[in-house]
């Protein structure tokens, strides 16, 4: 026992020592206040928390932009990145900071209605005058979708850098085995699925977790192409009624896909499981945007030569998802100089040059129509060029199904999907659950 005590005290001392060392080395960055920025000399530091780090597709682009910005504004402004991996996690953090009224100078809206939340709390800087003073910048706002994402009540609050153009990918080898081509009508699409199934090939990659991204895209495409009512629904921000025919019908279809057309791990699985199934040739199709193209040649995720096997298509009925992702916005700060710096950063990060950089480095679709698709980009990502051509011919366009949901509904949607998949709920009951929540939590 005595021996034990000595051991314990030695160990505790060691732990304390480690703790102290750790503190000395670690807390400096950690303790830096979130809202702000300590000025060192005359240089203004912008603390920029971002999820675009690590394995995120945009990480190299953001890192490059930060370098270029810091070089261009050396001695005047400096950006310091704070890593917040995971976009849902980032959104949650910003929501907390909105409720406390202390936001970092620059926030990236993404698909989480962060701009609306921040506006509600009156924390956003009006960019109208700054943007209009710069013709090149102002030109990008000459577009309805862009305005829907970044403007409110005729005022400009945010600036986008990334477009959201989404079709689906298919495995050419598997398609050739059965002798099929990407479908142009839904009838043909499901006929293809049946043919694949008959040949022992699972047709669709699907998921239910984290908002059921992959499944949701296919289902939403059906809603959008079902006619005017469906398309209008898909373009409504914060809809409250999900019990309309086009949605119920698409949900009913989705129920069948879960039961017949997908893998055993689809229910409960996340995007990553779905992607893994596609990468390993387990399934023939997956819905996702062009940012996935880079992964097809990444041998840590896919077998050698897999990228040669992938084809891209837009949805039946001439449909493609098209909505610029809500852009970056500047938040109100005590120090006007910091606001200035933040505006400079937003302008720099969303400029046509920055968008071209993202396109050429990672194949990210530019937000502004005025940004040209360069040859470098199409050489680097041949599939992207192919897809953009197809997309330009699409006549039906909309936002995503979950992209328009009131806050919190996406989680419920995700949680209830397994019950739809195994038949506990009928499609009508499922839609009623969504309607109830959306009505209760309606955003005025």
């Amino acid at each position: 026992m005595k021996m034990m005590k000595r051991w314990l005290s030695c160990a505790l001392a060691l732990v304390m020592l480690l703790g102290l060392v750790g503190c000395g080395g670690g807390t400096d960055e950690g303790a830096a206040s979130d809202s702000g920025s300590e000025s060192t000399g005359d240089e203004i530091v912008i603390n920029y928390p971002t999820f675009q780090v690590g394995t995120n597709t945009a990480a190299p682009v953001v890192a490059e932009l930060v370098n270029r910005f810091n070089e261009e504004y050396a001695g005047q402004y400096r950006i310091e990145i704070e890593e917040v991996p995971g976009d849902a996690n980032y959104a949650e953090r910003i929501q907390v900071q909105i409720s406390s009224g202390q936001l970092p100078p620059v926030v990236y809206g993404g698909g989480y209605a962060l701009l609306d939340l921040a506006l509600e709390a009156d924390l956003v800087v009006d960019l109208t005058d700054v943007v209009n003073a710069d013709p090149e910048w102002a030109a990008m706002y000459d577009n309805d979708a862009w305005q829907a994402a970044n403007c409110r009540d005729g005022k400009i609050y945010a600036s986008s850098s990334e477009g959201q153009l989404i079709g689906y990918f298919y495995n050419k080898e598997l398609f050739d085995q059965v002798g099929i081509q990407p479908a142009t009508t839904w009838e043909e699409f499901f006929d293809n699925c049946d043919k694949l199934l008959a040949a022992g090939i699972t047709p669709l990659a699907m998921d239910t977790a984290d908002g059921a991204w992959v499944s949701m895209l296919l289902m939403g495409a059906m809603v959008a192409t079902s006619g005017d009512e469906g398309l209008e629904f898909m373009n409504t921000k914060y809809p409250t009624d999900y019990n309309i025919e086009p949605v119920v019908n698409a949900v009913a279809e989705m129920q069948k896909w879960y039961q017949n057309y997908t893998t055993l791990d689809a229910v409960g699985g996340a995007y990553e499981n779905a992607a893994n199934n596609f990468f390993s040739g387990n399934v023939a199709m997956i819905c996702n945007g062009p940012w996935m193209i880079g992964d097809f040649s990444d041998t840590s995720k896919t077998p050698e030569g897999f990228d040669q096997n992938v084809g891209v298509a837009t949805y039946p009925g001439g449909f493609v998802y098209d909505a610029p992702i809500e852009g970056m916005f500047v938040t109100k700060q005590d120090d006007p100089a910091l606001e200035e710096a933040a505006i400079a950063m937003v302008k720099f990060f969303t400029s046509p040059e920055a968008q071209t950089l993202a396109l050429e480095m990672q194949g990210m679709v530019p937000a502004a129509a005025s940004v040209e698709i360069t040859d470098t980009a199409t050489t680097n990502f041949p599939l992207l060029g192919e897809f953009l051509n197809m997309a330009s011919e699409c006549t039906v366009r909309s936002n995503t199904f979950t992209g328009n949901m009131v806050p919190g509904l996406q989680d419920l949607f995700s949680a209830e999907l397994p019950n739809l998949a195994n038949g506990t709920y009928t499609p009508e009951q499922f839609c009623q659950i969504l309607t109830d929540f959306a009505t209760e939590n309606a955003v005025a």
Binding site: L18, T55, K301
Partner: protein
């Protein structure tokens, strides 16, 4: 101790049953962990094709990849810093309070103690929302200090109980002798009382350290960046990054689990003693 019992056939059956039951308990406790450790040496395709096969060869590639994919060591350091500071702060603050409650007489003593012990019966999950609001209002969201503060408080009830009874069991003569020697209030506490309450202090420290090392809910609620998140969060936090490399994921789980097991194996007597002390009603 020799066995006290005569063996009848029924008792033999009972003995057989006992051993079977013990074996089952050991299996239940060890199988999941052993399965994870073995899987961390298999390749991705081995894992996919047969979940129960043994690894074809041993390599530490998975571990190297795991550390590349997720900054587990950073989370480890965060956990260590937070749990250590919490433990020191908690034990010191509550030793002071425990001492006063055990040895001093003052007005409203019992009332204050009763109110403080109220914290023992509140399910802390119910306080998630206001704690989150308070931490945010204090500007402490996503800082290590927020977790240290909350953990120090969350472990208050049990430490207070353990430490009060530890000080109560020290003979009052010792304290009086110190005063007669001319030691003041503070010196008596530090130099005489604290060393005598070593057992209780160790128990409180072990319990607090374990709790804050493993806590998940408030860590999830109150932090968001890599700089401040703790080890229990690291695994689910990087699920997406690991989903293309199961070997690395199993390696990461092993890295997260093994230190606790080793430390427990070394200090199990002390840990068991602390748990027992923590459960005895004070």
């Amino acid at each position: 101790m020799l066995t006290h019992y005569k063996r009848t056939p029924t008792q033999k059956v009972a003995r057989g049953f006992s051993y079977l039951f013990m074996a089952l308990c050991v299996c239940v406790a060890l199988f999941p962990i052993i399965w994870v450790v073995l899987s961390s040496f298999k390749t991705n395709s081995e894992i996919f094709s047969n979940g129960l096969s043994l690894p074809s060869h041993f390599s530490f590639d998975g571990y190297v990849q795991a550390l590349e994919i997720a900054p587990i060591l950073k989370f480890f350091a965060n956990s260590l810093i937070i749990a250590t500071i919490t433990t020191i702060l908690n034990v010191f603050c509550l030793a002071m309070a425990g001492y006063v409650f055990a040895k001093k007489r003052f007005r409203f003593k019992n009332t204050i103690y009763a109110i403080l012990s109220l914290s023992m019966v509140i399910p802390t999950t119910a306080l998630m929302s206001p704690v989150y609001n308070i931490i945010t209002k204090l500007g402490l969201y996503d800082t290590k200090f927020a977790l240290i503060l909350v953990y120090t408080a969350l472990n208050m009830p049990i430490s207070l109980m353990v430490l009060r009874s530890a000080f109560a069991s020290i003979p009052t003569e010792l304290e009086e002798a110190a005063y007669i020697d001319g030691a003041g209030f503070f010196r008596t506490f530090i130099q005489v009382m604290m060393p005598c309450a070593k057992g209780g202090l160790a128990s409180a420290a072990v319990l607090t350290f374990l709790e804050s090392w493993n806590e998940f809910t408030f860590a999830l609620l109150l932090t968001s960046s890599t700089d401040n998140r703790t080890l229990p969060l690291s695994l689910s936090y990087f699920t997406s990054q690991f989903s293309f490399n199961y070997t690395a994921m199993f390696a990461a789980i092993t890295i997260a689990v093994l230190p606790s097991i080793i430390v427990f194996a070394i200090f199990q007597e002390q840990v068991n003693a602390s748990l027992t002390a923590g459960s005895v009603k004070g």
